[in-house]
Symmetry: C2
Subunit: 395 residues, 2 copies
């Protein structure tokens, strides 16, 4: 499904990545994703009140409809940068539009990196011109793009899906970055989905919203919401297939696959934790409980320490703001029942601890008896390495 | 104000602490605080849906009015323990009432420690009988009590206040514990206020509620709400003074003094962080912003690393759920202006970093231009030592 040898490329899309000199490391830091024709486009964004300039820009142009490409930089978030930041986001789009011969409002932008610093515009503009000149359909450039958007990620995050229907193919390629809003001055999750399916913007928006709800909105590393979170989908119709059921399923699968990669690559993480909350009255209730458990440093450190300290899990569920009685709640940890209907069950500490220690994947299952709603949420553990990366290796 | 040499004792109260054998360490783990006459009493408690058995017990008896004493154990939270836990909380009160010759519903109980284990009742009952037999007015026993209620606290937390009015004195003694819901299997903040002032329960409840709102409800260590949080106030009238304005001020001062001691003693903490949020429309808005900043692991690690990474602070404010525009927000860090009306200000990184490093106390000031509401909140930084204490030193 993913991996450098197998990556499938949707028809009509080009990519490139360059070293524009934005990251102090001097690595790849600017990527372009371009379609050879106009695309239906949809986006979902951070709900942070301190939203980055590129988020404001993308929100303003998405209703206009026909998108030609996305310019992404890492190393600078262009967030908390005031009017100059907004001007720079627009100037980025404008410079790309001039090269592509399209309107400025047909270019989306995305940024990730340090907050509160202005973009080095001469480098950004020179970089995006070089990248647009070099953009190619070659799969290797999509791989390069997935590396260019990394900040503290330890590995690129890509997925591709190909489905055939009546002898014609739909291909979807997804790229994401994120290891938390994390690292010395680093930030954000970004996701990009490119497909050659045909779909109108309104329906694409619905598909993306539903998929993000169950994927990128169900992950956390440390619970700090970024200023820059952005997921963009482009559909250029170059493959000629129009099948909403098929495409919605592919978007959902790609989003979940990419989303899980983020906490799995969370800074310092030694465990990927899957949290299932079932039997809630509403999915909002289920999500609130899952998020409280996922964001508790005490739950995260207990998993890190392979400590079957389940009181931390049920007590986090208890402060999620969802009304319930203790007798409504049961808990399983890696399939071992620890707490049923509000009372503790006997279990062997050493066995559960050994099981936690032996498996990178941890499964927390909380069941209420309130209703039919369920949610699946992913997070990672909290380690001393996370603290070191965010405190000790600093300016 | 506090400290072993200066502690003042309110008239008519007795205390003792014993080693009941509840803590595996074998240390002091059971304290009694008793009045020689009936007291007006008030309490505030965790809002966690998984509330500990002693919280249920205390809530049920407080309306009855006349309290004689409090039995406190550390080493076991009696939380998530089902019906047997509730029975054990009542049995604890019943055993104390039998010794004191009062009704069971005149005895409050409080517990802190491991969640999900049943209290060792023979030890609890033997311990409380020994403590009640030994209880004395001697100040040293109040000090011992403040040690007995500690879990992962590194130091006891006590305060006493004495005010004279018309030649007569009001004395208030406060004890607290808490270093987070924290440590291998440990939990909770507890606070106890004893005064010889005269006040009816209804007015005492109002004073305590107001004081807790601005003190114990304005602190966090890692943001994990305990199942056992409890603050109890007893007023026995033995000093004869009835002056609500005086007493309300003393209760407020004692609560704030004790509350600040908790994040200052937060596990692994190297900084006490004071967060002022000003200019909000409502105090709920101000508190929501302060709490989001206080609970962000990225803010906490930045302070730990003396990193003036202010983007983490304003972005945490941005996801607090309070609507505002970026241009509404300004930020000072240790009195240095970093962000004004939504735009970054130039500042010298090295100077601000050196200042953060040199001072244990850190001051974050966020100002909106929405209204008159303000809140002061206290937290601590997040260190690798916190992670080690909660993960690596485990079962």
């Amino acid at each position: 499904m993913s991996g450098s040898t197998e990556l499938e490329r949707p028809a009509g899309f080009l990519a490139a990545a360059v070293k524009a000199g934005i990251k102090p490391s001097g690595g790849l830091d600017l990527a372009v994703l371009v379609s050879d024709r106009e695309c239906s486009a949809a986006g979902t964004f951070t709900t942070n009140r301190v939203a980055a300039a590129p988020v404001h820009w993308d929100r303003s142009i998405l209703p206009s409809g026909s998108i030609r490409g996305i310019i992404i930089n890492a190393g600078n978030a262009n967030a908390a940068t005031g009017q100059l930041g907004l001007d720079n986001a627009r100037a980025t789009a404008s410079a790309a539009a001039a090269v592509l011969g399209c309107r400025t409002d047909q270019i989306l932008v995305a940024s990730t990196g340090v907050i509160g610093h202005q973009l080095p515009m001469p480098r950004v503009e020179a970089g995006l011109r070089a990248a647009l000149d070099a953009a190619t359909e070659d799969v290797s450039q999509f791989h390069e793009a997935s590396r260019a958007i990394m900040t503290t990620d330890t590995r690129p995050k890509v997925v591709s899906l190909r489905r055939e229907i009546n002898g014609r193919a739909v291909t979807l390629l997804g790229l994401a970055k994120g290891a938390a809003m994390i690292g010395p001055n680093m930030a954000t999750m970004l996701g990009f989905l490119l497909t050659d399916a045909r779909v109108d913007p309104e329906r694409l928006r619905g598909m993306l919203k539903a998929a993000v709800e169950d994927s990128f909105n169900c992950i956390s590393v440390e619970g700090h919401m970024s200023t820059n979170d952005t997921v963009l989908a482009l559909a250029n119709g170059a493959g000629g297939v129009e099948d909403d059921t098929l495409l919605a399923g592919m978007i959902r699968e790609a989003c979940i696959t990419l989303a899980k990669m983020i906490p799995d690559d969370g800074e310092g993480a030694t465990h990927l934790i899957t949290i299932d909350v079932e039997g809630a009255s509403t999915s909002e209730d289920a999500r609130a409980i899952a998020r409280a458990v996922a964001d508790s440093p005490l739950v995260k450190t207990a998993i890190h320490g392979a400590d079957p300290n389940w009181g931390r899990i049920v007590s986090a569920a208890g402060y999620a703001g969802v009304p319930f009685e203790e007798a409504d709640l049961s808990l399983w940890l890696n399939e071992v029942p620890l707490y049923r209907d509000g009372a503790p069950l006997p279990f062997d500490d050493a066995t559960v601890s050994a099981n936690l220690r032996a498996n990178r994947e941890t499964h927390i299952r909380l069941v209420l008896n309130h209703g039919p709603a369920a949610v699946r949420f992913w997070t990672c553990d909290l380690t001393a390495e996370y603290v070191r990366l965010n405190a000790d290796y600093t300016t």
